[in-house]
Subunit: 455 residues, 2 copies
Amino acid sequence: MSTIADIAGLLGPRLSTGASVRDQHGRNEAHYPPAPPDAVAFPETADEVAAIVRACAAHGTPLTAFGTGTSLEGQHLPVRGGISLDLSRMDRVLAINTEDLNAVVQPGVTRTRLNADLRGTGLFFPVDPGADASLGGMAATRASGTTAVRYGTMRENVLALQAVMADGSIIRTGSQARKSSAGYDLTHLLVGSEGTLGIITELTVRLHPLPEAVAAATCRFATVEDAVTCVIAVIQSAIPMARIELVDEMMVRGFNLHSGTDLPEKPHLFLEFHGSPTGVGEQAAAFREIAGEFGADGWQDATTTEARSALWAMRHNAHYATGALEPGKRTLATDVCVPISKLAEAVVQAQQDAAAMGLTSAIVGHVGDGNFHCGVRVNPDDAEEMARVMDFSGRLAETALRLGGTVTGEHGVGLGKRKYMAAEHGPALAWMRAVKAAFDPLGILNPGKMLPPEG
Amino acid sequence: MSTIADIAGLLGPRLSTGASVRDQHGRNEAHYPPAPPDAVAFPETADEVAAIVRACAAHGTPLTAFGTGTSLEGQHLPVRGGISLDLSRMDRVLAINTEDLNAVVQPGVTRTRLNADLRGTGLFFPVDPGADASLGGMAATRASGTTAVRYGTMRENVLALQAVMADGSIIRTGSQARKSSAGYDLTHLLVGSEGTLGIITELTVRLHPLPEAVAAATCRFATVEDAVTCVIAVIQSAIPMARIELVDEMMVRGFNLHSGTDLPEKPHLFLEFHGSPTGVGEQAAAFREIAGEFGADGWQDATTTEARSALWAMRHNAHYATGALEPGKRTLATDVCVPISKLAEAVVQAQQDAAAMGLTSAIVGHVGDGNFHCGVRVNPDDAEEMARVMDFSGRLAETALRLGGTVTGEHGVGLGKRKYMAAEHGPALAWMRAVKAAFDPLGILNPGKMLPPEG
């Protein structure tokens, strides 16, 4: 493959064709079969990325960006072979602009690394998808997580980008200014494009002041409907929730098995409040009053840092806790987002579908956004069970669309959700294809992802 | 013109070629010369818009959308003739979804009309550019205003669109869900595209809970630097400002002349706090403490609804108050946005440039966003003065770019800022052209706007 020779000439030992490196870049944390690239490139500068893109363009070789490999819909899998572009060496925090509340980073910087660098500044980067993903990958998949209800998703927190386009040109989109009306919004076109329109080589992300006070709590409800209706009332009441997470009965069972807790197997809300010390107390009291109207029970404060950390560690381990429900299988982690008024209906439908299909499915949800995840246990080698799980996943997507939502709130499209793009977007899909054709006419950037095959 | 005959066949009397209607649609509130269309179409449905677009496409006739005609960079002026598409008859509020905190509206609904319809729901639509613009026009220009620091701009507040594309197809982008990772972000591509990529025929906008308590205040500083440095400290301290407006010495003079007030001619901040009654008090006290460190003086609370209304009416009348500074001329209203750390430098530079060039320029700014406006008085018939004003405006744009900002924070590009697009976007401009070519290959949608001529 002459692309490999070209890139090896450029990068030397930073172009690897070794089996273990290729295997590592062909793996994923979800249920997709391995898909190793022909070679893995480790660029260190945007100029090197541009040269690699030009080499791929010259030979029509597929190029798939790789951050930390934690995406859940196979976004980083080079399913058509070619080059895996590993951005982990582009891991410098280039600037922390405390007065402007932003940071300029290379795409390989992870979110915990950025927050470590921010210690002592009084600022933090809030977007938290659970995994310690790279910021480039998080931007490329439009990631969000538990704090999006208060601080927004990557859509709201990426101010500017540097990107290498399919012809090898290097562009800058956006600016350090917090807003602009100057021209087409290429920043938001690239955010969420999963490496199919360009390669992100630098990001300016928004930072937020650390809250003066933080408090967390949990409470439980008799039914999912009660929990969700409570959330709707809370959001309408203008309580500025920092986190508000739904944990269904099955997920509670998983937490108990995994963490040795003994929470009652009822729908729970896990909560966090940010503000001034007075404000946080006021928010919690206002929440508790509303929750009481919906029969909330077992209110448990987590006021110390340790108690809070234990609570969110439990929540972040949902993926592994789901594993405890049926050991020896893998977890298909799927994700939909619906209007919050339809959330209870969607969650109950998913619970009933899973039960009717004999599947073990645990639900956690960023309920303030109407976004929830089903972790379904499956043996990928059991074709019949896999078919049932895919059927469940398809029904969940249909439910989300029927209720006016989207087939993915934060995991992205990748390989798994391509088949729903036509149903979700209708005639708009043709204009997404037009964007792709205009930006990547050779189809070298992450082929086989995002857009379904034509016809 | 056979386009006119085609559309007249479709709309009957809702297609007008009368001189007064054409003149009305060729006027603007800024300094641009009149540019009347050949005819004005008043569609009532998206299907009619689609038919009009198809008629224009068939004959290569320019089509320029018109909301309320309040845009400040000539966006609605049909500078190449053709059809003005007046969307004022598409003025229905289609749904108010209180549980989902959103509203579905036609593009001709104005922001005050939507807020009137929201009375009693406990919700409001916060984006407030001053003018009572149509929501379609506000989305098309990516408008913002005094409350963007807290509630975001149209970029953050448009969830979903229906749009008619250049081939007459009708698409839907986004959904009622608060977030999505499903596909390219066509919503944000259309928001801010000034009718050059498609015609917005329906919007879903986010609503926000009315704050329980609102308080406003003003204070003044010895210098612009003091005022701006105070704002930086306030933003870093996590006080969730609802409005924070800079008013420079010259603008204060204009207010005094226009409103009969006698404010000291010093840089002022006009402030608003939203929250719980306790929270609002706490915010104001925290602000005052920080402001004290920067020598703030003359703190004036506006606690009653009347006092608050008077304060913001004065602010909103800045355009007319600027007129009082030098009667008999017009106001060139320009706007830039810079990183907040560079705001004092940019404002002082603008003040010095205006003074050195013998121009009367008043500054108001959405200082929490780094966005400010210069209103410069000019006699458009005085070529020498007009040249000086254009020179001033060019220097302001250069200053913004030199400081890492953008040539327009909220007014948009239209006719006036096209000449800075290459300087601001560099190689990214080619990709904006690629989007335009892919979406409007015939160039019928608002030609002569946004992108500069090639070469």
